[in-house]
């Protein structure tokens, strides 16, 4: 087993499986976030946020998700360092085969940018919702609550940021686009690594990867863009 963990293919299996797990998380994340732009009263989003905060399965998944992120990030750094060691002297004429912007060549850079974005994102929302609290969270809700139920106004916090800061709108739009680009390579690549690919599936998986990447990029950027334009 230890030599599997150290083997080049073994290491990549971790990247692949955590990557697919993170994509499935992002799909849920995006679906819930889109409630932000389909209900300006904020009730839909607040209910979704309340469900996510109280559901026992989600509570179990939260640390697993954190672990998924940590493994994906640490392993990527390890793999990239090892791969750089394999070419001690580079080419003077560079690489003219793949274009400089292709996600396949920039997964580590894109991933690094997303990691920086992730820290900011967690500080702005998760930390405030779960640990420090924020006055915006206690703003009155637009809907009646059942007795004994406490609900934060998560919408006020999120929409408040997007309504008031053009800078963060732009940061979140770029973050969304980077996540999309990362996935256009990551999705099919994950299947390639676990051996689920051949000449027929190559086209299908790449097509699906581009589709998912575009949906994520447009979906995530649409939210700050909506607040930027409307408010």
């Amino acid at each position: 087993m230890s030599n599997f963990l150290n083997a080049s293919i073994g290491r990549k299996v971790f990247m692949s499986l955590t990557g697919l797990f993170l994509i499935s998380f992002l799909l849920i994340h995006l679906t819930l976030n889109l409630f932000l732009i389909f209900d300006d009263s904020g009730n839909l989003f607040n209910q979704a946020a309340h469900f996510m905060a109280t559901n026992p399965i989600i509570k179990i998944m939260e640390p697993i998700l954190a672990l998924g992120f940590i493994i994906h990030i640490i392993w990527s750094g390890w793999i990239t360092l090892e791969n750089m060691k394999a070419r001690p002297i580079g080419y003077a004429s560079g690489d003219q085969l793949l274009k400089w912007w292709e996600p396949a060549k920039n997964m580590f850079i894109l991933g690094g940018m997303i990691a920086i974005f992730l820290v900011l994102h967690i500080l702005q929302f998760w930390v405030k919702m779960k640990i420090t609290g924020d006055p915006l969270l206690n703003e009155p809700l637009n809907m009646p609550l059942e007795a004994g139920v406490e609900m934060h106004n998560a919408y006020a916090l999120v929409a408040g940021l997007f309504k008031n800061s053009v800078l963060y709108d732009i940061v979140y739009i770029i973050g969304g686009i980077f996540v999309g680009l990362h996935i256009t390579h990551g999705f099919w690549s994950a299947f390639q690594t676990i051996g689920f690919n051949n000449n027929n599936w190559m086209k299908r998986l790449k097509c699906l990867a581009n589709l998912i990447g575009i949906v994520f990029a447009i979906g995530f950027s649409a939210i700050p863009l909506y607040f930027l334009i409307k408010f």
Partner: protein, 253 residues
């Protein structure tokens, strides 16, 4: 079509006297080169001039000069085997270049392929990977009669596509990680699709991947650059098969 003569071109070549010596680029002028000349003939012409001038000729690997032996290498203007696709350097011609152009020629830059001299690299690492498991050692009997071994035409074709690998090293040379995965995948695939290769399939995949890692090649990040650089157009779908074979073997442990 009349032959076009390139009156002057500049060739910027990596010169390195020995494996341990410090290398440097040197630029040479080559005059009156016909566009019908092959790329390696152009270096022959340059070398003749260097010898006449009492200088050390440029060392480079070459043998069959018809794209089947896998001996020629060279990283030309940012492309393994030059700017043409699906050819080896020996099949590249000067018609791909223009008057006054500077052509940069570098050896394969792969840690596991140390430079021997100038543009020659030591590709023993590929031999070692092959020796680790790229063979069939069980007794498969004599040459069978036609159609005795039932095998789909598609499978036979795919095995042949993988077997087209000439082991030139362009995949590792062009990969940003210097990964040998396409080479290993081709060598594993050519057996994995055939019944004769099944007996040792598990042992083969594990041994060849372990040897590849041990020799210091990088890991595959699925950029697909290798299949674009490959003079035999070997598909990265074979890499997925290698991953599958390897993981299957590991799961059975």
């Amino acid at each position: 079509m009349a032959d076009i003569i390139l009156k002057k071109i500049y060739v910027k070549v990596w010169r390195q006297n020995s494996p341990k010596a410090k290398g440097r680029f040197e630029t040479y002028e080559v005059i009156n080169v016909s566009q019908g000349t092959s790329f390696l003939e152009m270096i022959d012409i340059l070398n003749d001039e260097l010898i006449l001038a009492g200088k050390d000729p440029i060392a480079f690997d070459h043998d069959c000069r018809e794209g089947i032996c896998g001996m020629c290498s060279l990283y030309v203007n940012g492309h393994a085997h030059g700017p043409d696709t699906v050819v080896t350097t020996c099949q590249l011609h000067m018609r791909r270049f223009t008057e006054g152009q500077t052509i940069t020629i570098e050896p394969w830059r792969v840690g596991a392929f140390p430079v021997i001299k100038d543009l020659m690299v030591d590709r023993t690492a590929f031999e070692k990977i092959q020796q680790a498991g790229g063979f069939v050692s069980v007794n498969t009997g004599g040459v069978p009669d036609g159609n005795v071994i039932p095998i789909f035409q598609d499978d036979a074709e795919e095995a042949m596509d993988a077997a087209a690998c000439i082991g030139c090293g362009a995949c590792a040379a062009t990969c940003k990680n210097s990964s040998a995965m396409l080479f290993v995948a081709a060598k594993v695939s050519q057996f994995a699709k055939l019944p004769q290769g099944q007996v040792e399939a598990k042992k083969r995949a594990k041994a060849m991947v372990a040897k590849m890692d041990e020799l210091g090649f990088g890991g595959c990040t699925n950029t697909g650059a290798c299949e674009l650089a490959c003079p035999k157009s070997i598909s990265i779908a074979h890499i997925s098969r290698l991953n599958r074979e390897y993981l299957k073997a590991k799961l059975a442990d």
